[in-house]
């Protein structure tokens, strides 16, 4: 009697389990997030691409947390608290990353300044010859 009641309860729970297992919306959110996070074992792959055991664990962790109602930001915060900003493929803009974010634009600006100055110099007309130079040129041409 007891066993059959337990079975009944389990059967009632089955749809819930199956729905959690096959939720395309959740799969998509988990996959999107996994693409944003770096696998620390093979550092040039995202969690989505890597098959390292840790990446598998962390993908499960993402999915579990999202299924448990966590937001994307909460999952990202969870990862950053453990592995640091390095797990993010898009590092945050702060004091330690300022060179990273601003550096390329500074180099671009520097390049433009150098280019503009060079072009301006090339466009400037030759200064007219002085009388002494003119006389020397005439002497050389003779």
């Amino acid at each position: 009697m007891r066993a059959s009641r337990l079975l009944l309860v389990l059967l009632c729970l089955l749809p819930l389990v199956l729905r959690a297992a096959a939720d395309p919306e959740l799969d998509k959110r988990a996959a999107n997030l996994a693409h944003e996070l770096r696998c620390l074992v093979c550092q040039n792959q995202s969690l989505a691409e890597s098959n390292a055991p840790l990446a598998v664990d962390l993908r499960n962790q993402i999915r579990e947390q999202l299924a448990g109602g966590a937001s994307e930001q909460q999952v990202i915060d969870f990862m950053v608290a453990r592995y640091g900003d390095f797990v993010l493929y898009r590092p945050p803009f702060k004091a330690t990353t300022i060179a990273l974010w601003a550096g390329p634009f500074l180099l671009l600006a520097l390049g433009i300044v150098i280019l503009v100055r060079r072009i301006a110099r090339r466009r400037a007309p030759e200064p007219p010859l002085s009388d002494a130079e003119r006389a020397r040129a005439a002497q050389l041409l003779e």
Binding site: L40, V41, Q43, P53, L54, D57, L58, Q61, V80, A81, R82, Y83, G84, D85, F86, I114, R118
Partner: protein, 175 residues
């Protein structure tokens, strides 16, 4: 633009990239330094019916070493951990990470067991809380339960002598 200027800029670039090449990209600064060691309660490796919680160590300086029988660098590091444990500076606790209990126990029988005891993190969940990604990893935890140092990868005799042991002595002197 003068030639010296171009040569100077090129030399600076070479220097920058050269320094970059000597850095180890695996040494990711841990955000856990200065933070309380994440809480856990795990079964002991030798006695599955007993558990150990990190808060039992409050008031003591201790070392947590993450190891596994499937990890060759752990074997390479083993003499260094053994020497550290034998120095009796502080207790060295093992965190057996994503291992099979039988494999772990026979690894300790074969190579010697330097740990005060090891806890058993079968699915690696506590490893995630500690930001473990390259076993072995070593943590120094102070009297207040705060992580003061983390080493990713094997502890070398030099690092143990020049960094870990002086830190352990300093922390032991602190009240």
């Amino acid at each position: 633009m003068s030639k010296a200027w171009v040569v100077g800029a090129f030399a600076a670039l070479v220097l920058l990239l050269g320094v970059g090449l000597t850095l180890n990209p695996r040494e990711v600064p841990s955000p856990l330094i200065g933070k309380p060691a994440p809480a856990f309660g795990l079964p002991l490796l030798h006695a599955p019916d007993k558990t150990f919680a990190q808060k039992e160590m409050l008031g003591k300086v201790w070392v947590l070493n993450v190891w596994a029988s499937w990890c060759p660098p752990c074997l390479e590091e083993h003499p260094v951990i053994t020497a550290l444990a034998n120095s009796k500076l502080v207790p060295v606790v093992g965190l057996n990470y994503k291992d099979a209990r039988d494999d772990a126990l026979s690894w300790l029988r074969r190579n010697g067991d330097p740990f005060a005891f090891s806890v058993f993190d079968a699915n690696g969940r506590i490893g995630i809380d500690y930001g473990v990604y390259g076993v072995p990893e070593t943590y120094v935890i102070d009297r207040h339960g705060v992580i003061r140092y983390k080493r990713i990868g094997p502890l070398t005799p030099e690092i143990s002598r020049d960094k870990v042991q002086p830190l352990l002595k300093d922390l032991s002197r602190e009240s």
